[in-house]
Symmetry: C2
Subunit: 202 residues, 2 copies
DNA sequence: TGCAACTTTGCAGACTCTGCAAGATCTCGC
DNA sequence: GCGAGATCTTGCAGAGTCTGCAAAGTTGCA
């Protein structure tokens, strides 16, 4: 894999510049109080260019990195490569857990992003929609690992939905505490509770 | 509770008329190929009136009934009234299960609605936002029943997220089969799998 | 009946997003 | 080096969404 050319690097950089400009402005003023023109001006591009990178305004908050699709593909690959002998659900949870390292690394950026999302829940599901491209491949991978059928069995879709719930709940709690409690600690607790079938914690 | 006046009844009727017109047109042509003007014309009102009833175009597909908020409140009340001695998760599942009767009753309408949503996942965004108003009260009710704290414990939010996953997965599968398999049957299987902690179904 | 409250409507206007075509910039082979 | 072709940026025109406001029409109630 050779070094990507200048054009490619500029593109990634522009993407990131716009995304961070959007994050900054929207964190200050709120989603509705920031127009695409504002973001484009802050990032030093034209409004039209903004839409070359992001289909809708909300995506600028959510798509932190331009290589979104590849990252999802890598996650699937890591899931498939999980050691044999463990069930699909814990294997999937372990895979997602690894991805949380990215979040910890850009900690402040993610806390800002989650704070914005908390203030505007429409963003939350937009995030889910953005992931919908990797949804079917993920379900297929889960089906294969668990020896089920992606079309006919409920199990793979359900697993993905529940794991998504675990992830979203953890991120949201982590942000609500402003990062005071380690994200992985929260995530592990949530995953364990789900794996136990949500018994009353008395 | 006296009979609501003419004004009130007209309002409910107008709401329903617009919602059904939107459902019909969008099912035929797709969300993007139908404008607010189209829907308003089909329903016999002005475009401005459309926005008196629905904040955004998507809501006309999603808000089947005008008394959305009260229905959510009733669901919470029924959850609180579930018999003692069962855990919060099965109690919540049982409550949601009762609401599925509404879906079965307006079966074709719901299959259409779910078909539209399947074709345009952006609608899911709106659906979640619409439910977010009842989110906190629900979490509070779950916390109370399970003897946990809505602020400090992960349990109530997690339960809601997982139950939401069960519901969404079930509806989506039901619609994918075009209603051939009974919704309650699918829902029960999904709920049982989640309650068991998602073990591999080998 | 007649006033108060509410609903509908048209209109002006801000904003989002798309298609198109011209111009700028990058890549790659020669 | 350098030029052809691919790709990216930009401005512009235009369709569509959604809001605020005030006039006009309806309904509720004394």
């Amino acid at each position: 894999m050779p070094t990507p050319g200048l054009r490619e690097r500029k593109k990634l950089e522009t993407h990131r510049t716009i995304a961070l400009a959007a994050l900054r402005l929207i964190d200050e003023r709120g989603l509705d109080q920031v127009t695409v023109d504002d973001i484009a001006a802050e990032a030093g591009v034209s409004a039209r260019t903004f839409f070359n990178y992001f289909a809708v305004k909300e995506d600028a908050v959510l798509l932190a990195y331009a290589d979104h699709a590849e990252r999802a593909a890598q996650t699937i690959a890591r899931f498939v490569a999980q050691p044999d002998g463990i069930d699909a659900f814990p294997a999937f949870i372990a895979t997602v857990r690894e991805d949380l390292a990215d979040v910890e690394r850009d900690r402040d950026e993610w806390l800002t992003r989650l704070r914005i999302i908390h203030g505007d829940p429409s963003l939350l599901i937009r995030a889910t929609v953005l992931n919908s491209g990797s949804r079917d491949p993920m379900i297929a991978a889960i089906a294969q690992r668990s020896g089920t059928d992606a079309e006919n069995d409920l199990f793979p879709s359900l697993l993905l939905a529940v794991a998504g719930g675990v992830l979203n709940t953890s991120l949201s709690r982590w942000a609500a505490r402003d990062g005071a409690q380690p994200l992985l600690e929260i995530f592990d607790e949530a995953a364990a509770t789900a794996a136990a079938g949500l018994p009353d914690p008395r």
